[in-house]
């Protein structure tokens, strides 16, 4: 399982990568593996305001449906149409081509409340056992 160090993680298994005042958001390797083959994604349109901890979309696999939770607050700049059209890209590249949203951060301080890669790895291992 892959836990890149250049990004932060939420307890609900989303990752956040920050560049300037913008953040890219997606779901983690742990999440895509737990879901299995992803067949459907519902993402908000550009302009929508995300609120940290609140649902912003849905990801569904053959067997399960899960809400996506905003790891940070901000305005959606772009939703990745590729994951809507070809949801399996999330399985293939959850940290790369399978990114979901670009968001303009409204409360950058929220990033401090997210986990680093080591803390997130420990959490995943605990959930697994």
């Amino acid at each position: 399982m892959n836990f890149p160090t250049e990004q932060r993680y939420s307890a609900s298994h989303e990752w956040v990568r920050v560049e300037g005042n913008r953040a890219t958001i997606g779901i983690t390797d742990y999440a895509q593996d737990a879901l299995g083959d992803i067949v459907y994604c519902e993402l908000p349109d550009a302009g929508r305001e995300l609120v940290a901890g609140k649902p912003f979309g849905v990801v569904e696999s053959v067997k399960a449906a899960e809400d996506l939770y905003a790891p940070i607050s901000g305005k959606v700049v772009e939703a990745n149409m590729a994951v809507i059209d070809n949801p399996e890209v999330v399985n293939q590249s959850c940290y790369g081509d399978g990114w979901m949203l670009v968001v303009e951060l409204s409360h950058p301080g929220e990033l401090d409340g997210l986990m680093d890669a080591d803390a997130y790895r420990v959490k995943c291992e605990a959930e697994h056992h």
Partner: protein
């Protein structure tokens, strides 16, 4: 997870990279390569499932057949030697205690395979119904179950079996040497495909599994409970706990064919006869989504804009590339009504289709 039971194949599954999850008190493989990949293997070649968690019971005695016929809805008198009969076990209200397979091995010897989640309830219920001279013996986990399912199952199994498979009819069982192990096997399954279920002793389970999985053609893929659930729903087969329960009758579940009203008295007969005469209040239908929404267990179903019932099982079908569901709806709703499934608060259009969803 220390209180979970493991089949003799547990370490083999782990070595194959399976994702193992708790299921009905057992730690079982959910998936190996992925649900879609595994379902495709079952639909086009062959998939191999460890279903050793299922309960195995044998009943013996001069009255065994009569005893069992009294607590099941189907009729063993119609079964030939070695034949499997799919049947319901009902309570007095006609609700389903379990759905199971009874093999009539001999007039005084029956072999029953029950759902893992219901094994304890079933065995307690059975014991109450037996004559004093009928013996009940359980074979889980001393004996395992391996299911080989798919259009090429015969091709895979024949070279490993010392008997000719061609004469073995669907729903019949026999004993022979398979992969060097003497055991019973049947042309049965839970995927809607041709295939076999093998019942080798637990200590030989790994031998049989590895012989089948290492078939030189590489036709055989290990498959988990995820793919099994997809295949059974695509095939229109019911799952106990979803589509069947003590509060759903076989008539409501669309399984009237498993109830033989013309045989001697059986538990639940009166209630079922009354329901048949009055018309069952609910019915089970197959729904196919008309957009990309995916129906799930317990989502509400609407017909002509009014609440009509509930999804009992729902998935995205990788074979049909669309969401499909079994639903329990009011008995008076017409099949050509405007059906919808409520997904996240919004009704999404669906149409009634005859099951199985995937036709063979």
């Amino acid at each position: 997870m220390s209180d979970l039971q493991r089949t003799a194949l547990y370490h083999t599954h782990a070595a194959l990279g399976a994702k193992l999850v708790p299921f009905a008190g057992w730690e079982m493989p959910l998936r190996y390569s992925g649900d879609k990949d595994e379902v495709t293997a079952v639909r086009t070649a062959a998939g191999l499932f460890d279903v050793s968690h299922m309960g195995q019971v044998e009943l013996r005695g001069a009255n065994a057949l009569r005893d069992v016929n009294h607590f099941i809805t189907n009729d063993l008198a119609r079964a030939e030697s070695g034949q499997a009969t799919y049947t319901m076990v009902c309570n007095e209200r006609g609700g389903v205690i379990d759905d199971l397979i009874v093999y009539r091995l001999a007039d005084d010897h029956l072999f029953i395979v029950v759902n893992a989640s219901r094994a304890e309830v079933d065995i307690a219920w059975m014991r109450e119904q037996l004559s004093p001279d009928t013996t009940l013996e359980t074979f889980t986990p001393q004996r395992g179950i391996i299911a080989l399912q798919g259009p090429r199952a015969d091709e895979v199994l024949q070279p490993l079996c010392d008997a000719d498979l061609a004469p073995l009819r669907r729903h019949f069982s026999m004993t022979a040497k398979v992969c060097g192990v003497e055991c019973r096997f049947a042309r049965t399954g839970y995927t809607g495909e041709n295939g076999f279920e093998l019942f080798p002793p637990g200590e030989k389970l790994n031998e049989v599994w590895s012989s089948l999985i290492s078939h030189p053609s590489s036709l055989v893929k290990p498959c988990g409970l995820g793919a099994r659930d997809v295949c059974r729903l695509e095939a229109g087969l019911r799952l106990y706990g979803n589509d069947l329960s003590e509060d759903i009758t076989p008539l409501e579940a669309g399984l009237k064919w498993t109830v033989k009203f013309d045989k001697d008295d059986f538990i639940g007969k009166t209630a079922l006869q009354q329901q048949l005469a009055a018309g069952p209040p609910r019915k089970t239908i197959g729904l196919r989504m008309l957009d990309r929404a995916i129906p799930r267990h317990e989502y509400r179903v609407v017909a002509n804009g009014v609440d009509a019932g509930v999804v009992t099982s729902g998935i995205f079908s990788p074979t049909l590339n669309v969401g499909i569901a079994m639903a329990l709806v009011r008995g008076d709703v017409a099949d050509d009504a405007d059906y919808g499934v409520v997904v996240r608060g919004e009704p999404h259009p669906a149409e009634v289709v005859r099951m199985p969803f995937v036709k063979k």
